[in-house]
Symmetry: C2
Subunit: 423 residues, 2 copies
């Protein structure tokens, strides 16, 4: 007799004999029809409803995945798989090869999917280059659209340099093309419209995410980046988007994602998203101030460390000379600081900072492909040298002004020490 | 300043500025190089080492996934993707189309992958039929192997009827074929060996799982079925098995599974597996007794419900006439009871049982494809009628003799009530 369910089913004998569906009765498989399953199913749908409300979507448009990587894979591979399924049907009038447009600073879970689709000849891909400030020009996206384009995938905000892409403007270009198309510019058919996907993983905490307003057909994000659980992601899939599952099995998640649903995770990510929405504006303002304070402080140390005063003046133009700020200063997440200190390995800086209790992240500039090199820094700076890594500080709910002062002071000390060897 | 890390980093200032990698510093991204990341990385590798020890594997052979469904998809799609990658290389001497052998009672996450690969002309598949007792004949697997066979996938134990497949014997047939093959029967090459995958999800709790002894190259299972966390699965991939990732992104999990690693989950599933191993023999013996007691008790009610005495005698032969036990009685998981009560909808039985606090599972026999029909029952009973659903009771750690007595008594009452309408 299970005691753990006494709260759920009070004053009643409970005999759980569904261990093959899930060993823990408190987290019973929501796919069953007995009472505990039905309760789990209800919790799952409540979580979905919460997310639906926040995004301004329909409940059948919210697909739970194992993370943003899977959500991005599902969005892009799923559109292409569906294209091929449709094109194999009798009488299908589709282009020979689907075309995808993306940018050269997307997350690996978008870029690597695109490369795989190219390699296996399932799709052709255009990688639109971002400008030097790390922002893509919507006109260049527009120009890249071809008769066989089926998908545009542009991230909402970049994970390394925090630049915010003009999602609504890109959406407008896509809509405009689709409208022209429907007027007869090419054979119509659902799969031949251009659909628009955005990886919103880094943006969710700080930017508007009503899907209608953004104008996206597909949007990915995950729990781990919004103070929620790891191991859960969400793909928003707008009604009538032609997409196929990429893993096969049961019919869960409206047939788009097989595997027993993770109710606890769905509930947690819904709660996390609610909290994000509640404090979004306040956190945006607070962190924007802190971020700019961080940049000001950096100008101070680089001055005191012996950099010429003139360089300090140019901080706000995003060009410090010996200290480069990577990415646009204005269209930038409020929690992102990404700098390059030429000649000093950024890995070493992270380790030195860590020894002082400061946890930051680094990418090398080297192109040897150990997985830690930055294709983003390379994209915005063609003249980058092998020694020019990048150092990222990303702020969050617990970050204080004191943290920043301590960090900049520590960085100053570390640099003064390292200068002996590296300058 | 974060206080939650005070246990990890005592007496030290900690400034977490890596929110973009993961918002909760206590669960920092193990992909980083700062101190908290390194600690997470250590925990991850400790978990992997525990699992490695239990399976008798190497640490680089353990791939964490989001569940058994993903693990099965990775095993089967991964082998086929790799085949096509190798076959596209210059000078590759591979068959035109890879061939997969499986059975007709596999889990949907194997069968649906196979169907997808057939539909998209990526592979051809032979579905070997199991015998009437729900067990596959290894000789039939052997007979199905063709020059272009690359994979055999046979589940260790069935999720519906609990039958245990002769995995070691099938492995022997595969090894024998590969040995003959290496002697010159067909062009050699890694991708042309036959590899052997087993979905061990339902078997892990009760059966031996040393991979070397089983003779498998790939083995899947998950956390939810072994009293561990939901949302995590494992794919064992033997060294030198030619497999490619099916989702694309980062280089985590030895390049086979992208996405930030879920350290908490890895740790929990390792612990769950340790506990399983500790009590495996004891639970096997205890549940075998309970299961057989359940069958005995069923014979009692079916006798008292008006079934002829002769039918009761034949219980142990697996043919009760009006009460059929589905699947072999001997080569069966110790926790599985699966019966068909002709003429009475099994869904209705589950609902009636649930109203009495008993949580069981049902599948209909109808082939209309609502996702709840049983391809397994259909496979072992060709004469099945639309009204012959199946009812599954699966026992577990908390199940007692009293639970079974209460369940059988309740079932008896329910049937006596329903007989008025359905007989």
């Amino acid at each position: 007799m299970l005691k753990s369910n006494k709260n759920q089913l009070k004053r009643r004998k409970v005999v759980y004999l569904d261990y093959a569906s899930g060993a823990l009765s408190a987290e019973a498989n929501p796919g069953g029809i007995h009472e505990i399953s039905m309760k789990e199913k209800n919790k799952l749908e409540n979580a979905r409803a919460t997310i639906t409300r926040i995004l301004g979507a329909h409940s059948y448009e919210i697909i739970f995945t194992s993370g943003a990587t899977e959500a991005n894979n599902l969005a892009i591979q799923g559109i292409v798989l569906k294209f091929w399924e449709l094109s194999s049907q009798v009488g299908a009038k589709l282009p020979k090869l689907p075309h995808i447009i993306t940018t050269n600073i997307e997350h690996a879970s978008v870029l690597e999917v695109c490369r795989h689709l190219e390699e296996t000849k399932q799709a052709e891909v255009t990688y639109v280059e971002v400008e030097r400030n790390g922002i893509v020009d919507p006109k260049k996206i527009k120009k890249a659209i071809k008769p066989n384009t089926v998908l545009v995938s542009v991230m909402y905000a970049n994970n390394e340099i925090g630049t915010i892409q003009p999602i609504s403007e890109i959406a407008k270009e896509v809509r405009h093309f689709n409208k022209m198309n429907s007027l007869g510019h090419r054979p119509t058919g659902e799969a031949q419209k251009v659909f628009f996907h955005t990886d919103a993983t880094q943006a969710i905490n700080y930017l508007p995410i009503r899907v209608e307003k953004l104008g996206v057909d597909l949007m990915s994000f995950n729990g781990a980046k919004i103070y929620g659980p790891k191991g859960v992601g969400i793909l928003y899939v707008k009604k009538n988007t032609p997409i196929k599952k990429i893993m096969f099995g049961g019919n869960q998640e409206f047939g788009l994602r097989p595997g027993t649903e993770n109710v606890a995770f769905a509930t947690s990510i819904a709660k996390a998203l609610q909290e994000v929405e509640k404090i979004k504006n306040k956190e945006f303002a607070r962190l924007t101030k802190l971020r700019d304070y961080f940049f000001e402080q950096l100008a101070q140390i680089f001055f005191f460390s012996g950099f010429p005063a003139t360089q300090r003046q140019s901080l706000k133009k995003g060009n410090l000379g010996e200290l480069a700020i990577n990415g646009d200063l204005k269209n930038r997440l409020p929690n992102n600081i990404n700098i390059t200190i030429p000649g000093i390995p950024s890995d070493l800086l992270v380790i030195e900072l860590s020894a002082r209790g400061i946890m930051a992240a680094a990418k090398s500039a080297c192109k040897s492909g150990d997985g830690k090199a930055s294709h983003v820094i390379e994209a915005i700076n063609k003249d980058i040298k092998d020694t020019d890594g990048s150092l990222r500080f990303s702020l969050g709910r617990s970050t204080t002004k004191k943290d920043i002062e301590y960090t900049v002071k520590s960085l100053s000390e570390i640099l003064q020490k390292l200068k002996r060897w590296y300058n």
